[in-house]
Amino acid sequence: MLAENGVPTIEDLAQVLPAPERLARGPVAIAECFQEIPCDPCYHSCLRRAIAPFADINERPRIDHEKCNGCGLCVNRCPGLAIFVVDQTYSDSEALVKLPYEFLPLPKPGDIVSAINRSGAAVGEARVVKVQSGKQMDGTNIVWLAVPQDLSMEVRHFKMEEVR
């Protein structure tokens, strides 16, 4: 459980996942932020107003998945690195997971990396599709991983030591 080991449960995740119909329509953000803490940069970062205004700064983010186009601006601004964009329409066999990444070296497009789940365990392989970095990202890069469709809700990190 999150409070005991830092890993969100299926029940936690069920509260924040977009509906399957929405996932079937393209990229969408998922805020895996489960605690009321004094923090609201995600709300201020979303130009499409897809994140509901916070009545008070401790509120948890609520993403209107219909308004969200998966642009990823919030992914870069979230200090908790808790927001991910998932695109299940990438191909028949693969989904894209766009995740925040603050380690060096950065991978290169085409690299095969080991795909890691929320408990830190390797669950398979992923292919790096794109790396968004640069000065305006201020150190929080966004890495696009192509993962097998059935892992799109599992993979939330990656390790490069297994680069081939």
């Binding site: 895996e32 923090c39 700064i57 603050e102 408990s119």
Partner: protein, 373 residues
């Protein structure tokens, strides 16, 4: 003897904001810090901060510190003395300071104490072996001097500091074998915890360190599980092959100067130690001595900055300075503070502050503007 209107002791986020706000009303300020740089703890915080837009949330602590220090250097009403340690406070209102092996005396009309906190330690066998560090020391080594403390670390304490320092160690290429936490729950924000866990660092709640081993330096550590009464459960020992043990078991407010000045102090566990009584404007029981930031109770940089701003405004106001927007600025700061502390994680702080704030309800009291304005 240096005469000044306001002396701010401590150049962390609280002290810097105090100086900026006091100077913005026109007061002359001397800010002293024992480090040879301004910024306090912020200089080591390479992660993005929580908080609201007004407190620069999502910015990295180190960048906030750079901006504030720059603003302070630019402000002509502020004189900065770094590598200067406040040694004592005397009855006649003189603050003594050591700088460059010289003894300085400062006679301010108002004092703002923003000295921050000191790390706590933990007793266990062999905790004196080289390789046992405080989390602050590890952070200074890694993020200020670019030195790795070792190859593989066991972190003790899963509060925000333990978890964030673990993350920063990973970023520096140091392995973190695990984080042990005696409490049944993770104290850090869960989003921080989740990011170190997926990066491969297990967090063991209800666990503590039983001892360190090694001949001349740390060669490993043994942990043990705890029962509901926090007693070690025999047979649950685990060995960790590590060369660094990093203690992150809390901070306590640095308050020597307040004791010397005779401020009324109270032990408040929720604020992590002995802290001064204060009113809503951050003035202690000794008129003219104000408090801000971790020195008044361990909290966060966001709150420290707002408290500093409030103390700075109050001290300058008490000297007769003001501005047409004084009341609205003050009200905004009070509202920010209330907002920050309003959620479930602020409950402890709210409880602690109730015990030391002389006017209980933090109403947005409107001060009469001084006649000369």
């Amino acid at each position: 003897m240096i005469a000044c209107e306001i002396c701010v002791i401590g150049g962390g986020p609280a002290g810097l904001m105090a100086a900026l706000h006091a100077a913005s009303l026109g007061a002359s300020v001397v800010i002293i810090d024992r480090n040879d740089y301004l910024g306090g703890q912020l200089i080591k915080q390479t992660h993005r901060f929580f908080g609201s837009k007004e407190q620069r949330a999502s910015e990295r602590g180190v960048n906030i510190s750079r901006e504030l220090s720059f603003a302070v250097e630019e402000e002509e009403n502020i004189k900065v003395l770094t590598a200067a340690t406040a040694l004592g406070y005397y009855k006649d209102g003189v603050v003594t300071v050591e700088k460059d092996e010289r003894f300085l005396k400062i006679k301010p009309q108002k004092i703002i104490v923003a000295t921050g906190g000191a790390e706590k330690t933990l007793p266990f066998p062999n905790n004196d072996l080289p390789g046992v560090y405080g989390a602050g020391a590890v952070q200074t080594l890694v993020n200020v001097y670019g030195v790795k403390p070792g190859q593989r670390v066991l972190m003790v304490g899963a509060g925000n500091i333990g978890v964030i320092v673990s993350y920063q160690l990973l970023q520096a290429g140091v392995e973190v074998a695990g984080i042990v936490e005696a409490a049944p729950r993770i104290g850090a924000y869960w989003v921080h915890a989740a990011k170190v866990v997926r990066a491969g660092v297990p967090i063991y709640t209800r666990h503590t360190i039983k001892g360190a081993w090694g001949e001349k330096e740390v060669e490993g550590a043994t942990t043990v599980e705890l029962d509901d009464q926090w007693r070690p459960i025999p047979g649950t020992e685990k060995d960790f092959d590590v060369d660094v043990i990093c203690l992150s078991v809390g901070l306590s407010p640095l308050t020597e100067i307040l004791w010397q000045a005779g401020c009324a102090m109270k032990y408040v566990p929720e604020l992590s130690g002995y802290v001064p009584l204060r009113n809503v404007d951050m003035e202690t029981s000794v008129p003219g001595i104000y408090i801000a930031g971790d020195a008044g109770g361990i909290e966060e940089a966001s709150a420290a900055m707002m408290e500093g701003a409030l103390a700075g405004l109050s001290a300058a106001r008490a000297l007769g300075y003001s501005a047409s927007d004084f009341n609205s600025r003050r009200a905004n700061i009070l509202r920010e503070l209330e907002n920050l502390r309003s959620g479930p994680v602020g409950e402890k702080i709210r409880k602690g502050l109730k015990k030391v704030t002389l006017i209980e309800r933090q109403e947005f009291r409107v001060l009469p503007l001084s006649s000369n304005f």
